[in-house]
Symmetry: C2
Subunit: 274 residues, 2 copies
Amino acid sequence: MNQPLVALVDGKPCSAAQLEWALDRGLHYGDGLFETMIARNGHIRFAALHRQRLATGCQRLRIAVDQDPLWQQAGTLAQRHGNALLKVLVTRGTATQRGYGPAGDEVCRSVVLAYPPPATTPPHEISVVSLQVRLGENPALAGIKHCNRLEQVLARLELPPRDFEGLMCSSSGRVISGTMSNVFLDTDAGLVTPSLDLCGIAGVMRAVVLREAAAMDIAVRIADVPAAALAACRGMFLTNVRLGVQPVSCLDGRALSGSEQVRALAQRIASLED
Amino acid sequence: MNQPLVALVDGKPCSAAQLEWALDRGLHYGDGLFETMIARNGHIRFAALHRQRLATGCQRLRIAVDQDPLWQQAGTLAQRHGNALLKVLVTRGTATQRGYGPAGDEVCRSVVLAYPPPATTPPHEISVVSLQVRLGENPALAGIKHCNRLEQVLARLELPPRDFEGLMCSSSGRVISGTMSNVFLDTDAGLVTPSLDLCGIAGVMRAVVLREAAAMDIAVRIADVPAAALAACRGMFLTNVRLGVQPVSCLDGRALSGSEQVRALAQRIASLED
């Protein structure tokens, strides 16, 4: 019952090599994790934070990964290309039995990709819009960067082309994140970023912002953010390792203002390597 | 920015053929759908219901699939093997750009698998246990059989080996389903099966049970089922196309009783082809 009698890929009988892919648990269940990183001047920025998040994800999903070779490969690509966007993907590997339950003897698969570096000058005026698609709440999957990303796929499909990013709420109506970024609101009570205990991805750049803000004596609260806070905030910025700290100029059609504090934070972080 | 400069698979540079798999959106995001079916005497049971659910899933995820070739392939395998378990998997295909958002020009990938038929005599005494892992609620993904299945993977990891199946509640505490089956409770108020508007998979066998129960004048309610209902029900059965109607003999350590009505329903459905 464990191995298929026949396997067709796009209608054609598949080779043994293809079968390894055709039975990958990443393909069937999104049973894997990934990291997206920036290489700059031959060095992976915030490598230790990426490595730590991947380790947490592997532990939570009980995927046994030897991370050393992955980071050697990514490091070599960073050196070779100097500036690049890197993606490391790991899955639990080819299924050794049918069904959702892993047998325990799967061999983890890795994919390491290097892309040309993103444009260094992001769009100047960033327009962000609230989306209808929500994020289901599940503490067992919250925070980690796993490969069950249909909510983000549907969110990107909903996003109007004129907008740079869309904001997503949880099923219980709290603001959580953008489709590909974390979010910080500049409110009358100071900076706040959503708690990610129930859903969302704990971004590496979000962690860097929290760390550097603390070092600069800028208070940032991690809290539940009701959707109503979007209409009340005076400023907002998005974070991910590709964008860094990216101020939002327009939210749901309303102009937002920047702040000296956020500009200083963005500038400080732009020069960091780790 | 769309195509990688370098791709390593398990540490080795990958061929063009491997790259197609390494960039598949199913692998990266679980961006796909599947059907698991039973072939009996050369015929796919309930093929029209499977086809309908896959069509609904493709429409919801906006994956353009020409289903005709898939069902021709599955039908040919059913004829050739007579009795088999079949799986059809479709993904949005190889990514043509980076990121969660599809470009729209991806070419759908299909995998059709035939496995030896499951044992015809399922275990006689079925023990079922309530699990801690919950199902996140998201109406945009509820009902369809998509490839974001980490909740089920974690649930199977939690399931004690002595138990045949585990029951999962939603994040708001309602009973939804087993890890690989739908569930019907036999209560003082008659048969009830959980509503799947917020999470869970709308099983083909569940649909068959609802249809056949109606034909037999057996009332079945579709309703929100609070977790407390588990302690109060007198009987329970699981459904999927592999198990058919499978009575549960023990729930969380408590013996359950069968019923003539459920036995009659199971017997009627066991002989159906469509």
